[in-house]
């Protein structure tokens, strides 16, 4: 267990250090997300009466787009100056590399979402302090990070990687978006409490399933 955990933590520490020194990913995700909210406000003409109906959808479209931004950068950073080759040559299992990269992206996304949530609460006028909402965000973001890290590793090796990632990512992640939107509207929206006993287990099943599959197929992706 320690043998798996130690390289994972070292990899996460490296990614955090890299982000701490440059701060380009988190800042660009934050600015991008705020822009999307502004665009949505005018595109949907959000009025105080509809806001509880529209807020979950706006939140999750924003988070999903911000996630693709984070995923796009995740392996691009490794490709610069042959970082990925170095990682793969190091005596560490591929599972550890995958989990380290996924955990790093997961933490960045959570950080951005934690910063955005009060802003959304203020702009869209809904209560932020809901335990189920936070639980939904954590579980859905884990799903984003797992699937996104896998497809990021694929997309970065292909031509036109900026297009390939969302094309691969969104169809597979759709159940997470559906479940997250529904669980969020059960937490903050117009229908309190409806369907939480379905959507939270669905998110948990998705996360558990892809936590098993993704490290396995990641080994297939990175072998050369």
């Amino acid at each position: 267990m320690m043998q798996l955990l130690r390289p994972v933590l070292i990899l996460v520490r490296k990614d955090i250090l890299l982000e701490w020194r440059s701060r380009d990913l988190v800042v660009s995700m934050l600015v991008f997300s705020l822009l999307i909210v502004v665009v949505f406000n005018f595109a949907l003409n959000v009025t105080p009466q509809q806001v509880t109906v529209l807020a979950p959808g706006i939140i999750w479209v924003t988070f999903a787009f911000a996630a693709t931004l984070a995923m796009n950068r995740s392996f691009v950073r490794e490709m610069e100056q042959g970082g990925l080759a170095g990682l793969l040559l190091s005596p560490v299992s591929r599972d550890a590399i995958f989990l380290g990269k996924a955990l790093g992206s997961f933490l960045f996304m959570l950080l951005v979402e934690a910063a955005l949530l009060p802003v959304f609460g203020a702009l869209l006028n809904f209560p932020v302090l809901s335990f189920t909402l936070v639980l939904t965000i954590v579980m859905a973001t884990l799903g984003f990070a797992l699937v996104g890290t896998l497809f990021s590793a694929i997309a970065v090796q292909t031509r036109s990687r900026e297009i390939m990632l969302p094309v691969l990512f969104f169809p597979v992640i759709l159940p997470v978006i559906i479940a997250a939107v529904e669980a969020s509207s059960a937490s903050i929206g117009s229908e309190p409490g409806v369907g939480l006993n379905r959507w939270l287990p669905l998110l948990a099943i998705f996360d558990a399933l892809f936590l098993v599959i993704c490290p396995w197929v990641f080994a297939v992706v990175v072998e050369e």
């Binding site: 699937v147 896998l150 694929i154 090796q157 292909t158 031509r159 036109s160 390939m164 094309v167 691969l168 969104f170 169809p171 597979v172 759709l174 159940p175 559906i178 479940a179 529904e182 229908e191 409806v194 369907g195 379905r198 959507w199 669905l202 099943i205 998705f206 399933l209 892809f210 599959i213 993704c214 197929v217 297939v220 992706v221 072998e223």
Partner: protein, 235 residues
């Protein structure tokens, strides 16, 4: 796998067989089958739509199995099978969506509804189009095989989750239309037999297309190998 001559024989038989079955099927659908009392002639698209949709699911299941076999065994023949099934599957699922739209218009009075089966089929279409895209964007054959195997596995595992999430989503957002099989018990025996015949017809057509496409992939790979050798020889 099989010798060249044997394979050509099989393809020959399959093409004749599927041609004969298709003619018989068309005769059954347009002459023998009774006209639907409520929907009229447009109901006949049903005999094409249902078998094609089922064959596309079969195709993606085969992609899934062949992808796992490729990941485990690393034999190029599994990749060729997966690639062929995915291509034929995308064609079939496109036709299934289009015939579904034609059929849905008189049946539900709308071209499209976000019903679980329709939505899942649309998501399938998107997943396997991205499967074919990743193949063409990969930088070499081995990379294309590995990446598409990953998409073939992850995409198929995702399908039941997509289906159930849409089923539950619909139970929250009800809509007045009914499912396509709500009137299934109203199907007359003769209609059921024709449907089964149609199913066999499309199974033969599907097998023929996959066999033919796999043979084409074999030729493509061999040509690629010859070109590589020729380039190394300095030509």
């Amino acid at each position: 796998m099989l010798g060249n001559g044997v394979r050509q024989n099989i393809t020959g038989y399959l093409v004749v067989l599927s041609g004969l079955f298709m003619l018989a099927d068309l005769y059954l659908i347009f002459v023998v089958a009774p006209t639907d009392a409520v929907l009229g002639h447009v109901q006949r698209v049903f005999y094409f739509h249902v078998p094609i949709a089922i064959m596309s699911f079969l195709a993606f299941f085969l992609v899934f199995l062949a992808s796992i076999a490729y990941v485990v065994r690393r034999d190029g023949k599994w990749d060729r099978l997966a690639h062929s099934c995915a291509e034929v599957g995308v064609v079939f699922v496109t036709v299934a969506l289009l015939t579904g739209i034609i059929w849905g218009r008189p049946l539900w009075n709308t071209w499209w509804t976000w019903e679980p089966r329709l939505t899942t089929t649309l998501i399938l279409w998107l997943i396997y189009v991205s499967y074919l895209m990743i193949r063409s964007y990969a930088s070499n054959q081995q990379q294309a095989a590995r990446y598409s195997a990953v998409v073939g596995i992850v995409g198929f595992v995702d399908v039941p989750i997509v289906y159930y999430s849409v089923v539950w989503w619909r139970s929250i957002h009800p809509s007045p239309v009914v499912g396509p099989f709500a009137q299934a018990n109203a199907l007359e025996p003769i209609m059921l037999w024709i449907l089964l015949f149609s199913m066999v017809t499309f199974l033969i057509l599907f097998t023929y297309l996959v066999v033919e496409r796999t043979a084409l992939r074999n030729s493509e790979d061999r040509l690629l190998g010859i070109r590589l050798v020729a380039r190394r020889a300095g030509r």
